[in-house]
């Protein structure tokens, strides 16, 4: 669209410039060589002037396009809803123990709104356990607060109602139901009483929008079971989005995806993270490098390092653990 406009604009410019030059050439009579020389110089000057104006116009066009993208993104962010700047996850002294085995050791972690945080670390570092503890799957001591609400000690289904959503390593969707029905199930999690017994009905605006965001519109009426693996993961993410979850906890979302799917997923998550708090447990370092805002490295239930991707990559300790740990 933009390209086309730029081209047509440039042509117009050339036509105007051409007409000007022609006018000058046609208006004067062929007199002395000096006159001709002067005319030629004028022409060159005018041509340069036209060129400059053309460039200027192109630049302005590019600026407008850029501004439009920025505004569009802002609009999209508004569209995507999400939370407030002061929604953040604050974990203090989180401790998880299984039959004497300490999976997470007195861990402090704060993830701010708008952050796309990656949790990495060798197997058994306690990455998934942290998510399990926050979402009420495993009992834990300490504190984990989101938007000031204590998450620990609540039942999983109550934690969801506080705006916390999670996915699982194996895509968990209701295979027998269609994509649309899966999303509707997710959307209706606050339904009560008689609303539960109304017929399913069509897709709401919310569901339609999120289906579009997650690239699932064309699969809306397919049973979720026949979707390719990548799309199942998207569906699961979409289910969290239609719930308007503000804290997304994703357990290896791109495992088993094709490179193209990874990029699409990364962009989707990047977009989600603009006004949500997103934590991703991941093994794929390339994916992390591409999309992470910040990274927390765990080892044996403790935080080893924390910071931006560059900081983590230049951290000797991390390099040592990774080379030695074989992950």
């Amino acid at each position: 669209m933009n390209d086309k406009m730029t081209t047509s604009g440039t042509e117009e410019y050339q036509t105007v410039a051409g007409a000007g030059a022609g006018g000058v050439a046609g208006g004067g009579t062929p007199a002395s060589a000096a006159e001709l020389e002067q005319l030629r110089a004028e022409m060159v000057q005018m041509r340069d002037e036209a060129k400059r104006m053309r460039d200027e116009a192109a630049q302005m066009k590019a600026e407008i396009a850029e501004e439009r993208t920025r505004l569009h993104d802002q609009l999209a962010v508004l569209d995507d809803r999400g939370g407030q700047w002061n929604d953040y996850l604050e974990i203090q002294g989180l401790h998880v123990e299984f039959d004497g085995f300490v999976a997470v050791k007195n861990l402090d972690l704060t993830v701010e709104h708008g952050d796309l945080r990656f949790l990495i670390g060798p197997n058994g570092a306690g990455k998934t356990t942290i998510i399990d503890a926050i979402t009420g799957l495993v009992p834990a001591t300490g504190s984990a607060k989101f938007r000031g609400e204590q998450l620990l000690g609540r039942k999983p289904n109550d934690i969801v109602k506080l705006g916390v959503g999670r996915t699982f390593q194996t895509a968990s969707v209701v295979e027998e139901l269609s994509v649309l029905e899966n999303l509707q199930l997710a959307e209706g999690f606050r339904k009560k009483g008689r609303a539960l017994f109304r017929p399913m009905g069509g897709a709401s605006q919310n569901v339609e929008y999120m289906m579009d965001v997650c690239n699932l519109t064309e699969d809306a009426h397919k049973p979720a079971g026949i979707l390719p693996h990548g799309k199942k993961q998207w569906l699961e993410i979409g289910m969290l989005l239609v719930q308007d979850a503000h804290l997304l906890l994703l357990d290896e979302p791109v495992a088993g995806m094709t490179p193209a799917e990874r990029i699409a997923t990364g962009e989707l998550l990047k977009r989600c993270s603009k006004n949500r708090t997103v934590i991703i447990v991941e093994h794929d370092m390339e994916f992390m490098r591409q999309f992470a805002d910040s990274v927390t490295v765990l080892n044996q239930g403790e935080i080893l390092a924390q910071g931006s991707v560059e900081e983590i990559q230049s951290n000797d300790e991390v390099v040592r653990i990774y080379l030695g740990g074989g992950e």
Binding site: F98, D99, T128, L137, F168, Q169, T170, S172
Partner: protein, 294 residues
């Protein structure tokens, strides 16, 4: 004290009966996830084997010994046939095996009724087991004592097979990670068949032993099956330990409650105890922790 001791003995005896009935179930349910509703009928097959042997062989002691072996083989083969013919194709639908094996139990019961008639029969027990034995001034039924010892022997033997033999290792490997076992060169099909043979065979032994205490009829197995299932549920899947503890605890509870009330109240109470117990340990007494959510 005078009241307590016989009651504990009765409880242990009840527990050993439960254990014998549940041991094979625990193996097939725990290792393979198959819920064998025909387990009681495999016990019935063992009991009828005891009956047939006692009519064929004059010496009752020999008859019992032979019946234990033949009963094991007969029920084991029945189980093997069931596994090969039906259950093998249903590995992905464990819940459905419950109904298929119920159909098998109906057919086996009717077969028994057609072959042996509807009236109950008795397997003549050896003299030594019909007389009470006296220990510490208390007299016990020798038959019950025999069953108690037999149940311990069976557990020990099964434990030895599972822990010490290559076969046992293969059985445990298959139940823990079927795919990994398969790629490690174990034929999980064969292991499943052998496991089922073993579990069903133990039912046969249990049937022979319990025919010492009960009359034998086509519904011999139904007396035990429900409680045996409860033992497996309370004990937790996949561990002999759980089944052993659950059997004796439930046996003791039952005899403790039965004494002041009645047998029917005792059975209801055992059920309630299991439901309440599952409130605290939904995975049973001995649970294997798994990271896998699905």
């Amino acid at each position: 004290m005078n009241m307590l001791f016989p009651q504990i003995v009765a409880g242990l005896s009840n527990g050993s009966i439960l254990l014998l009935a549940a041991l094979g179930l625990s193996l097939t349910f725990g290792q393979m996830g198959v819920i064998n509703n025909a387990h009681g009928e495999f016990m019935m097959a063992g009991a009828y084997t005891a009956y047939v042997m006692s009519t064929l062989i004059g010496n009752k002691g020999v008859a019992l010994a032979v019946a234990l072996v033949v009963g094991f083989v007969v029920s084991g083969l029945l189980g093997l046939l069931l596994d090969v013919a039906l259950l093998e194709r249903m590995r992905s639908r464990p819940l459905d095996t419950l109904l298929v094996t119920f159909g098998v139990s109906l057919v086996l019961q009717q077969l028994a009724r057609d072959i042996f008639g509807a009236t109950p029969v008795y397997a003549a027990a050896p003299e030594a087991l019909t007389n009470p034995v006296t220990v510490f001034g208390y007299s016990f039924s020798a038959g019950r004592l025999f069953i108690f010892i037999l149940s311990i022997v069976c557990v020990a033997a099964l434990y030895a097979v599972l822990k010490l033999t290559p076969l046992g290792r293969q059985i445990r490997a298959t139940s823990e990670n079927r795919d990994l076992a398969e790629v490690s060169g174990i034929s999980t099909r064969t292991v499943d068949h052998v496991t089922f043979f073993l579990g069903s065979g133990i039912a046969g032994i249990a049937g022979v032993a319990l025919s010492l205490l009960n009359s034998i009829s086509f519904n011999f197995g139904t007396t035990f099956i429900v409680q045996a299932f409860l033992v497996v549920v309370a004990g937790g899947v996949g561990q002999l330990k759980g089944a052993v503890i659950a059997s004796f605890v439930l046996g003791l509870c039952q005899s403790a409650i039965e004494l002041p009330t009645s047998a029917s109240i005792g059975q209801v109470a055992v059920f309630l105890i299991v439901v309440v117990f599952l409130q605290f340990r939904p995975q049973g007494l001995v649970a294997i922790r798994s990271r896998n959510l699905a």
